[in-house]
């Protein structure tokens, strides 16, 4: 029968305010071909979102904007879905060229399994995974909501990956209870913490949800270290030196920064550190993620703030 290449579909599910948009923003801006150290890891993602505005993509990343689509400079595309999912899938599947990966930001009340139905009927799609975000700070409210509790349970039930968001806003007891509750409900599903949507991309994309391919358990089980903050005026050579020192445990870093030579973008991806001049105003935002063996967030903060100009 049909032997067309199948496009993986990832569904990001979770309640309003659970951090879906941050995660998607992270995937979109970090995933394009130009960020890729090799052909293999670069993905042109088409994201289907409820609302562009909330996504808040850096203006410098936007290449073109027409109708309900935004094309990013890195090859990714963003489409708004309104309330007609079928129409959106028709549009996206008629794109040329077709994307490498489709990520859909489900609405806070969507049942991800129903969305997954599109992948099961479209020979050109396959379900890669359902990622459900659980807001640690609101779990007790959401799981008892008189109108939404059934939805909440269905979203967790459908997950191939559970992400606990805003862990910093919940006390230790709440967090521990939540983790054991989720583990009891979904014993085989990997679980990780996420803050501001920042995760290694390969954790989220490539789940092969319907094919039970083994997960990189050690990364997920032990979590990973990350730190994000704003850096003012840091010379690129100094920053690169700090990153070199963190090898081999550093996995990913990105920043839109400034030094005496002007604004620049820095990427560390797939072991490669690159910098490029940047046309807009540098936000100073900087993110770093690494394996558990890397110094912890507090230590990272110290390291990166060390010779920041006052």
């Amino acid at each position: 029968m049909n032997r067309l290449p199948q496009i993986p579909l990832t569904i990001i599910s979770g309640f309003l305010g659970s951090g879906k948009t941050s995660l998607l923003n992270h995937l979109l801006t970090q995933s394009g071909l130009e960020n890729a150290p090799s052909e293999k890891s670069g993905r042109r993602i088409t994201a289907m979102v409820n609302d562009f505005g909330a996504l808040n993509i850096d203006a410098e990343l936007i290449a073109a904007k027409h109708g309900n689509q935004i094309a990013l400079a890195n090859g990714c595309v963003c489409c708004s879905i309104g309330d007609d999912l079928m129409r959106s899938f028709m549009d996206v599947m008629q794109q040329s060229p077709l994307p490498d990966h489709i990520v859909i930001e489900a609405s806070g009340v969507a049942e991800p399994r129903r969305i997954a139905g599109f992948a099961s009927v479209d020979p050109q799609l396959r379900l890669d995974g359902i990622v459900t975000l659980v807001d640690a700070s609101a779990h007790n409210v959401h799981s008892k909501d008189p109108y939404l509790a059934d939805n909440y349970a269905k979203q967790i039930e459908a997950a191939h990956l559970l992400l606990i968001s805003k862990p910093d806003l919940a006390d230790t007891a709440t967090l521990e209870n939540l983790e054991s509750e989720l583990a009891a409900q979904k014993p085989d599903v990997p679980m990780a913490h996420v803050t501001h949507g920042v995760l290694p991309i390969d954790l989220v994309l490539g789940l092969n949800g319907d094919h039970k391919i083994p997960q990189p358990q050690e990364i997920i089980e032990h979590g990973f270290v990350q730190w994000a903050g704003h850096l003012t005026d840091i010379p690129r050579a100094a920053l690169i030196a700090k990153l070199e020192n963190l090898r081999p445990h550093v996995l990913r870093a990105k920043g839109v920064l400034r030094d005496a030579e002007g604004a620049y973008v820095l990427h560390l991806a797939g072991g490669l550190i690159t910098t490029a001049p940047y046309a807009g105003k540098a936000s100073g935002h900087f993110v770093i993620i690494g394996q558990p063996q890397m110094p912890d967030a507090a230590a990272l903060e110290k390291i990166f703030r060390q010779n920041e100009a006052a």
Binding site: F15, L16, F89, M90, Y147
Partner: protein, 539 residues
Amino acid sequence: MNPHLPHATHIAVRDGHILGVGTVDDIDGWQNAWGPLELNADFADKTLLPGFIEGHSHMMEGMFWDYHYVGYYDREGPDGTVWPGLKSIDEVVAKLKEIQAARKDIDTPLIAWGFDPIYFTDRRMNAADLDSVATDCSVIVLHASLHILNANNFVMEAADVKGADNSEFIRRDESGQATGEFLGQLGYYMAMRTTGINLLAIASSPETLVNFANVARQTGVTTATDLVNPMPAGSEQAMREAVDADDFPMRLVVAFQGNSMEPAEGVARMQELQTSNSDKLRFSLVKMVADGSIQGFSARLKWPHYYNGAPNGLWYIEPERLGDYLKAFTEAGIQVHVHTNGDECTEVALDKIEEALRAHPWPDHRHTLQHCQMATRSDFKRMKSLGVGVNLFSNHLYYWGDAHINITMGPERAARLDDAGGALAEGVPLAIHSDAPVTALAPLFTAWCAVNRLSSGGVTLGNGTQNISVEEALYAITMGAAYSLKMENEIGSLEAGKRADIAILADDPIDVGAEGLKDISVIGTMVGGHVHLNQGRAR
């Protein structure tokens, strides 16, 4: 519908408006001021009613006339051609063969619509039926309900249905063979992806709009709604051009799709759209969809939920977000119509409207619940208190009444399905609708449904308190709908000063009575003084 003059013999029209209504002597006096009036006796033996107003329809209705009609009843196309009703599956297949033989591009998909299996109880249409029409191109027959379609084996092979194990969207016989029926949204998606035809993309062209108006006109409609349209930037110009043309036989009220952008942007877009309002085209309200449909098990029901035990349905928007939108539009003085089907959804919508009104009090907001099919008397009391109107989906009584009794709601709750009698008894402003193309657009048929409450299976829903009288139903499809659109000062009744929008009927509905309401022939309409006659005959 004018309480001061419910019946009259003559009507005078000037400049698109009604100059006077009454006896020939009453009208005579106007000639002093307005010069000689010419007597037109063409419709002397007909009945004139205020033009009907369809308060909840979709422009998509106009799309189907690009395809081939194979419904049970005779139907007149927008160009006046009468498509005869087909009374058996064999007749449908014979008609499709005839069409296929006459087609030039025989490799392109053959698409037909309006097929209604309710009338064919001996067997269901299958892939072999459609293979006899063609085996080397797609043949697709859309059901009248738009929830099912039939296809031939060409489509089934392309869609690889053998590999699909999900019975949710593929009907199978006892032996597990796919029968050729594709079910629900996913079934439609599968068929569209296979044939490469995007039915949804065609739904918003100017041709579709003209077809929609002509279909509505034939049923006596002089104002219809396109009850949810995302109105992409600039799309209002083309719409203005089409609707303002003299030969466009209808007024159109467009509801902006509230959630197509963030609340603040939506308010700004609505304000921008309103600058394009004209006599015939109005952007006056916002539509929000809060849940799904009862027959699709996607409506949100209160405990004890669905009669057959199906899990509760879907929210189409987070209740919190619905609240945000209602607050923003209420603050800006923009009317909102909220789609709610299940009773849980109705309750939440009323909660959110109440919150919005506490934050931004507005005495005549006239927010309206659309469908609102499971509302209880308590819900209606609360709507009355909040100043919320209702537009009930009365056609459901006929099309899905039996399913609601036996499968979705159970007999007790189905008795109150689309309780027009209850709404009026509690003092809630009432309109009734078809939701075309979901069911047939024909206000007299909708009125018949609300008056008789008879299902297609021949069962009467309720105990009589839910029925309304013929007069009340006629009011609902004229003044009731006008009120829900805040246009009651312009249309909905025949009285001096209002727009000259008239439905011309072969018989007087009051004389015909409850039973024959749906069968009254519509001769034509007048819109703003322009007469539009039906060329063939009505359904």
